[in-house]
């Protein structure tokens, strides 16, 4: 087997193992719940029968391992059980977590994809330019601007955009309210501000990391050697620097897209966008555990997959591994 392929498989196995450990942690943490959780959720007025009924419907009366087994086999098939919200009010139709999450997951992925499409080319371009023209005015301005924007809380960026681009000058929609009937272009128009906000936050991180990675690369001895041989600068960049730059660039992109996963929570709340982040915040407030579990697993999966793909791209493009002696 080719060594690259073998290393990639190892990383994949490691990623799946991590994901499994995360699922154990997320599930078992709810065993730490203080005392009678059903009573706390249902309120003091709930009679013992109601509490018992709730425990039975939520499956809380079964042993831990059995519940974990059921939950895990369901979760890998996209079934996360029933929401507590529909169980607490007796008589209402029980709603599955999947039916609550699915439309919102689509919305969140749409937003994240749009933000990624805007920010990745922009950040890589700016970072590369800043690294090549290091210490120029351009570099310093970009550096100060990104350092400032990193320090801003996401909601600050969001509300500034809302104030200037939606309230004072009505160029964009102030809130990104969409539903299943919204057409694709309408949807795209409505998420204008959230996308700009996320882009601003991510570009700063990504650009700084790209710049650092490229500077680091250009300082390595084999680049200096190529330059000293009298090779034209473009050939140094394309034939010597770039093949070695894929790994750091992939790492930068994946790390920052993973950062997007977290940033999306706050931005969704600011712009009232019906996504998974907002759902999770609501679920934490109402202590709807199956929903929190499902959201946490989804976010963690995306996060781990992104980091894993950065690893694999790094390995698969490493010239030293591709041409083993």
């Amino acid at each position: 087997m080719h060594p690259v392929f073998r290393t990639c498989l190892q990383r994949l196995a490691l990623g799946i193992a991590t994901l499994w450990v995360v699922s154990v942690i997320v599930f078992s943490m709810f065993e730490l719940l203080p005392g009678n959780f059903a009573q706390a959720v249902l309120g003091q007025a709930a009679t013992p029968e109601i509490v018992e009924n709730f425990n039975k419907r939520a499956g809380l009366d079964r042993p831990f391992l059995e519940r974990y087994g059921t939950w895990l086999t369901g979760a890998v098939q996209g079934d996360f059980g029933l929401t507590f919200g529909s169980l607490t009010s007796a008589g209402t139709q029980a709603r599955t977590v999947a039916s609550v999450i699915m439309p919102r997951l689509e919305n969140t992925l749409f937003l994240a994809a749009a933000a990624a499409a805007c920010s990745v080319p922009l950040a890589l371009g700016l970072g590369l330019l800043a690294a090549l023209y290091r210490n120029s005015i351009f570099d310093r301005v970009v550096n100060a601007a990104t350092l400032t924007s990193i320090s801003f809380p996401e909601f600050f960026v969001g509300y500034i955009l809302m104030l200037f681009l939606a309230v004072q000058h009505p160029w964009f929609y102030a809130t990104a309210s969409v539903d299943s009937t919204t057409s694709f272009w309408e949807h795209l128009a409505r998420i204008g501000l959230p996308v700009i906000g996320l882009t601003l936050v991510i570009v700063a991180h990504m650009m700084r990391m790209t710049r650092a990675a490229i500077i680091n690369l250009l300082a390595s001895p084999f680049i200096e050697m190529a330059r000293l041989k009298g090779m034209p600068p473009s050939r140094v960049i394309w034939h010597h620097a770039l093949p070695n730059a894929w790994a750091p660039i992939a790492t930068v992109v994946a790390l920052n897209l993973a950062y997007l996963v977290v940033g999306v929570v706050v931005v969704e709340v600011v712009f009232n966008y019906p996504g998974v982040g907002q759902l999770m915040v609501d679920a934490v407030q109402s202590r709807d555990i199956p929903v929190v579990q499902a959201c946490a697993i989804i976010f963690a999966t995306v996060y781990i997959l992104l980091n894993l793909s950065a690893d694999i791209i790094g390995i698969a493009t490493n010239p030293r591994l591709l041409h083993p002696r």
Partner: protein, 302 residues
């Protein structure tokens, strides 16, 4: 201090003598450095001291009490209420001032706990090695594989959103980053001769950790403290903004933004002021850290 002007390309051994010399006349040397600092760093230092001043003297500076309802809700800016009032009629300026005290001290405490925990375990890993190192390393790997905001949300669901839980949970996740850094730096120091000499002298583990290794990894840890502080500060602000952090009636910048956010739709910038207060502090700390990193890492390219 003259040796600060020489290029610090020296190895760790020379840095140690530098560290020893740096301790003499530390105050005047520090003042000298500050005067030579770039304008961004000076600005940052001045702002940090201004925030500290406001935090310490909050009760004297604020015109009204922290949770005191003094007027009608959403009053506009006036002589009586300089920045207007909030959604239940509390003075905005007073709450901004008191929030400096609450938000800064909570974030500082959290960072401090994270550093005590992280650097102690990191040092332990580096000095002892073996299965302790392996075990802690894998544990940290798993904790870092989950986005910390998401994990924090899970923990807050379980334990509820009280202040102690908040501080401990965020400190735990930040400790993982501190652990990584302090272990990585300490591993390079542990292999040096003077540590070996101390071991052969029969010094106890705490002595080796605290007196032999720790002084040599302080500069990167100090810079990291600044970075972690801004990160913790932003995390707590984000959680408070989401309604899951510092709970009312305690004044806090994050929750103040959320409570007054509707005013934005009328073109009022008042809700942006607490957010700006957060941004200004984190920018200032970042400027200072940036300068400090350049100083201690010996980079001379900017």
């Amino acid at each position: 201090m003259s040796n600060q002007n020489e290029p610090m390309t020296a190895g760790p051994a020379e840095e140690i003598t530098l560290a020893a010399r740096r301790r003499r006349g530390a105050f005047s040397a520090a003042m000298h450095e500050v005067l030579k600092a770039p304008p961004t760093a000076k600005f940052g230092l001045i702002m940090i001291f201004a925030y500290l001043f406001v935090a310490v003297f909050a009760p004297l500076l604020a015109p009204y009490g922290e949770a005191e309802v003094v007027g009608r809700q959403y009053a506009p800016w006036s002589d009586e209420f300089v920045l207007g009032t909030d959604q239940i009629g509390r003075d905005m300026l007073s709450r901004l001032i008191f929030a400096a005290r609450n938000s800064v001290s909570i974030a500082f405490l959290t960072t401090l706990i994270a550093f005590l925990l992280g650097s102690m375990l990191g040092l332990l890993s580096a000095v002892v090695g073996g299965w302790i190192d392996q075990g802690l390393g894998r544990l940290v790997d798993v904790l870092m594989a989950i986005p910390s905001l998401i994990f924090t949300l899970v923990l807050l669901t379980i334990f509820g959103t009280d202040l102690i839980t908040l501080i401990l949970v965020i400190a735990l996740f930040d400790a993982t980053r501190v652990y990584r850094l302090s272990r990585a730096v300490a591993v390079n120091v542990v292999v040096m001769d003077f540590v070996e000499a101390a071991r052969l002298q029969g010094e106890k583990l705490p002595w080796i950790m605290a007196r032999e290794v720790l002084p040599n990894i302080l500069p990167p840890l100090a810079a990291e403290f600044g970075l972690r502080f801004t990160f913790v500060f932003l995390t707590i602000a984000a959680l408070s903004f989401l309604g899951l952090g510092i709970q009312p009636p305690t004044a806090d910048w994050g929750s103040m933004v959320r409570e007054n956010a509707t005013l934005i739709n009328y073109g009022d910038i008042t809700p942006l002021l607490p957010a700006a207060a957060i941004a200004l502090l984190t920018v200032s700390v970042n400027f200072v850290v940036d300068w400090f990193l350049h100083k201690t890492s010996g980079l001379r390219d900017v």
